[in-house]
């Protein structure tokens, strides 16, 4: 089989991406759980997990750069490697946002939540769905899935607006809640940014398949 070593290397890159996907999902879930249960230790664990993702990113990038230099890929191979590098960059930013949520949780402090969380966990769940879907589209080079991901982004925006409205009303009624409300707004913002990164991955998938970039949202 020609280029066996090269294909093997590409598969290894894919495996690493899969590992990062798992880690990022854990970080998103964990950061929201820590928020819900006021678990500062869990938040600290999430912060440490970001280092794992950073290490993966460095590894994947170095491997990809070396493959470009040594294998001189063209056409589909080249687009694959470039897309891989873009995808890991997006995943690393997602991990940063999840880490950010954990850090905000710590800053909120050892106090009770000003309201029970409903929409924030919903946003988190959606963002994880979008992450799974966009990476499935990337793995399977499926443009249709990529387009679907971009449609789901509208829902995230709507959720975020609702959360902001709600929290602003609460803090207007009770100014003492304004500090936590602001932090919660930041958290919603981070979750929306995570979803946005998924749409970036979807656009990267379209580039991978068609060779041309297309703005989808």
């Amino acid at each position: 089989m020609p280029r066996e070593e090269f294909d093997k290397a590409l598969k290894e890159l894919q495996t690493s991406i899969n590992e990062v996907e798992k880690t990022v999902k854990k970080m998103i879930n964990g950061s929201i759980e820590a928020l819900n249960t006021r678990n500062i230790d869990l938040s600290n664990q999430i912060i440490d997990m970001d280092d794992i993702v950073d290490k993966y990113k460095d590894e994947i990038e170095s491997k990809a750069i070396f493959l470009i230099a040594s294998e001189q890929p063209v056409a589909g191979d080249l687009r694959k490697i470039i897309t891989t590098m873009r995808v890991i960059m997006e995943l690393e930013r997602m991990a940063d946002y999840a880490e950010g949520i954990a850090k905000i949780n710590i800053r909120i402090g050892d106090v009770d939540l000003i309201k029970p969380l409903i929409d924030i966990p919903k946003m988190a769940g959606r963002s994880i769905e979008m992450l799974s879907l966009c990476l499935k589209g990337y793995r399977e080079s499926d443009v249709k899935i990529a387009e679907k991901v971009c449609d789901m982004d509208d829902e995230m925006d709507a959720l975020k607006d609702r959360i902001i409205n709600e929290l602003m009303q609460i803090s207007m009624k009770d100014p003492s809640t304004s500090r936590q409300a602001t932090f919660l707004i930041f958290i919603a913002h981070n979750l929306e940014r995570i979803a946005d990164r998924s749409t970036n991955i979807a656009e990267d998938t379209i580039f991978l398949v068609t060779g041309s970039s297309r703005e989808l949202n």
């Binding site: 020609p2 001189q72 890929p73 063209v74 056409a75 191979d77 687009r79």
Partner: protein
Amino acid sequence: MNNEQNQPKDILKVKNLSFYYGTFQALKDISLDIEANKVTALIGPSGCGKSTLLRCFNRMNDLFSNAKVEGQIIFDDLDIYSQSIDPVLIRSKIGMVFQKPNPFPKSIYDNVAFGLRINGFAGNYDEEIERALVQSALWDEVKDRLKDNAFSLSGGQQQRLCIARALAIRPDVILLDEPTSALDPIATVKIEDLVNVLKKDYTIIIVTHNMQQAARVSDKTAFLLSGEDRCGVLIEYDYTQTMFSNPKIKETEDYITGRFS
């Protein structure tokens, strides 16, 4: 207004060209247009007919007594294969540089002068020879030793000498048949840089095995392929940038990514 100037002009038009060595068909129904002042690369696996196609452009295949051509190659509004055209005339307008550098066993000066002498040039030899050597980026290295034997030059220099020899008679088109496959990497790069400069004044068609070279050096690329019948057909012909980032045909993609078995 200026659109006409920017309109790419095709200097060579291949129309339904089929080529036979006796009863064996080497090329089938090839049609493509070569743009003037551009570099066109012909790529494909061994035996696909790319060198045969190249040699059709200057009728070098005529040297084989059983060569037969169907179809046309239009150059300057004339079919170069029509009965009334003498191949000798074609070759002074369409020059060729070969895979292995083949300077004559004469001095550097006499090598470059050879084409001028053969074509009965009556002007200033020294001027033309200097011009040709300057254009092939060899002048500075040989200007003090024009009387030296051509074989005293390195491989890369010899190849540039062969290019100068071809340039001396001011052809319109230059055909390069794997010009760097016998050279080391440094000499290769020098010749690739040279090709980039030469295309301003000449049209260049280059056959190459080296995918990266085709991508680096050419503006358009034609991919030829032959099946079990060993008959070459044109699979894809497009701008190089498109061909190498997003080819339209699967065989092209398989070939340029090295996944042909």
